[in-house]
């Protein structure tokens, strides 16, 4: 089993994802430079957070043009598990692998803090081991995480069970006060129709060890490993 962490100019959570996967979860993990156009030999893709191309123009707008993103698209079309975290999520939106767009936070300020998420579905490879309704404690760190999609798209997302995580209070209620950025319907993470591509603003790689304040993020990676094992990887 081998996990790819694509690295773009300006990626900066690449080492964190690598550390969590390789040293905490203990799976074989490798960086993939963005100019590479193949993901041959990899079983899952973790697109890390950061400020690719400085977040200039729009977050993820320039990274989507990298050769590696063509490979990610093919990988996803083949049913392979892909997770985009924070800037990785923004890249997936910009490349059209996930619907919708990110706007600047309602506060117009960067926000870095622990939030609570309610898991909505176990249908993705990354949430198979997390029962719907589970509340996770996990940090966000972004300036543009205010998820937007038009009403028809939002309705379709709900109907097809593509909303994977919502911001909520510690008891699991998706209240306005628990929404750190103004996202539509408190959406923190969504998947594609098929369920194999997940994008989320919060950072599971930052809370995969108790000593960092929470190990809830590890559950996503553990789920991924279990899912891959089941597939014989």
């Amino acid at each position: 089993m081998r996990i790819a962490v694509p690295v773009f100019p300006g990626s900066n959570c690449d080492h964190d994802a690598y550390h969590a996967l390789k040293h905490v979860v203990g799976v074989d993990t490798a960086f993939v430079w963005h100019k590479r156009s193949s993901l041959e030999g990899f079983d899952a893709v973790v697109i890390p957070g950061g400020f690719t191309y400085g977040d200039y123009l729009r977050c993820g707008a320039m990274a989507k043009l990298s050769p590696v993103m063509d490979a990610v698209r093919r990988f996803a079309e083949g049913g392979g598990p892909v997770i985009g975290i924070c800037n990785g999520f923004q890249i997936l939106l910009e490349s059209g692998l996930l619907p919708g767009a990110m706007m600047v936070n309602e506060s117009l300020r960067f926000v870095c803090e622990y939030v609570h998420l309610r898991a909505e579905t176990g249908r993705t490879p990354f949430t198979g081991g997390i029962a719907p309704g589970t509340v996770l404690k996990i940090p966000v760190a972004h300036y543009q995480g205010n998820y937007f999609a038009d009403d028809a798209t939002l309705a379709a997302l709900e109907e097809r069970r593509q909303v994977v995580f919502r911001y909520c209070d510690p008891s699991g209620d998706p209240t306005a006060g628990s929404n750190p950025n103004g996202s539509a319907r408190n959406i923190a993470g969504i998947c594609n129709e098929r369920g194999n591509v997940l994008g989320m603003m919060p950072h599971p790689e930052r809370c995969s060890e108790e000593e960092l304040g929470s190990a809830d993020g590890r559950r996503l990676f553990d789920s991924m490993v279990a899912w891959l094992k089941e597939k014989g990887k």
């Binding site: 707008a61 320039m62 043009l65 910009e94 706007m103 936070n105 205010n146």
Partner: protein, 79 residues
């Protein structure tokens, strides 16, 4: 040759920046502004070309990079 590109949020897309500016203006005591929408404005210098070709080129650039057509629309002016 030169061109100008305007990228603006589509109607119906909430503009957090515009809203914040509006409230700051009223804090500053600047009254009379009823709405602000913030967009991007790009000044582009191009190799000389027929205006039609230039437009086609920039249209391509907008669709593929400069605007996110999920939330934004764009306008190109060639000088």
């Amino acid at each position: 040759m030169k061109a100008k590109i305007y990228v603006t949020l589509k109607k119906g897309v909430l503009d957090p920046q515009g809203r914040a500016i509006l409230s700051s203006l009223s804090h500053l005591g600047i009254a009379g502004v009823e709405d602000v929408r913030v967009g991007k404005y790009m000044e582009v210098r191009l190799k000389d070309a027929a205006p039609d070709d230039a437009r086609r080129l920039l249209d391509d650039a907008c669709r593929r990079l400069l605007a996110n057509t999920v939330i934004e629309e764009y306008r190109i002016e060639i000088e």
